[in-house]
């Protein structure tokens, strides 16, 4: 899983039917210290995350499909599966 910050969301009327009723969030990967990286990704929201939240994103199809739609086998490769409250580092 990767750490990311939600920076926005997108609206798409024409999309794969398994994305129906899902929120597609635009996220930027961050380091554990909270700094932005150059990698950004779209992820389906399964936990009611909002813009500005630090989130946990799973990037594996079976887990992402199951978390976001309740069923495996969708063309979904990333899903937000947690909102991070805090990170403690050594």
């Amino acid at each position: 899983m990767i750490l990311a910050r939600v920076v926005g969301n997108i609206v798409a009327t024409q999309k794969n039917h398994r994305y129906q009723n899902a929120r597609v969030m635009l996220c930027r990967q961050i380091t554990p210290e909270g700094d932005d990286t150059s990698y950004s990704t779209l992820a389906l929201d399964s936990v009611d995350a909002g813009v500005g939240d630090t989130v946990l994103i799973v990037q594996e199809g079976w887990s992402a499909s199951t978390a976001a739609t309740g069923e495996a086998g969708a063309a979904i490769d990333s899903a937000i599966v947690g909102v991070v409250d805090r990170i403690d580092l050594l």
């Binding site: 009327t13 024409q14 950004s40 063309a75």
Partner: protein, 90 residues
């Protein structure tokens, strides 16, 4: 999933049987600021996208799920068309 701009079409007469009838498009992946990021790739279209449109694509094994999943050889499929650039909130 990643945001991308469709920058061209591609024609391949000789191809895997299960790719017959599929539209191949050249896409340039974009970062969260909608700037080009990385090298262009070839994607299969599953939603009726066209050149110039802002889309998002799915990577990996999941990319074949909109089609006959067992035998469609793809790792990059367009799964949604973003309504407009204004619909990407950042």
């Amino acid at each position: 999933m990643q945001l991308a701009r469709v920058i061209g079409t591609l024609v391949a007469t000789v191809k895997n049987d299960s790719l017959h009838g599929r539209k191949l498009l050249v896409v340039q992946t974009l970062n969260a600021d909608l700037e080009p990021n990385g090298k262009p790739m070839v994607a299969i279209d599953s939603v009726g996208a066209g050149v110039g449109e802002l889309v998002f694509w799915c990577r990996g094994k999941e990319a074949s799920f909109p089609f006959k999943r067992e035998d469609t050889p793809t790792d990059c499929t367009i799964v949604g068309i973003v309504d407009s650039e204004d619909h990407v909130t950042r």
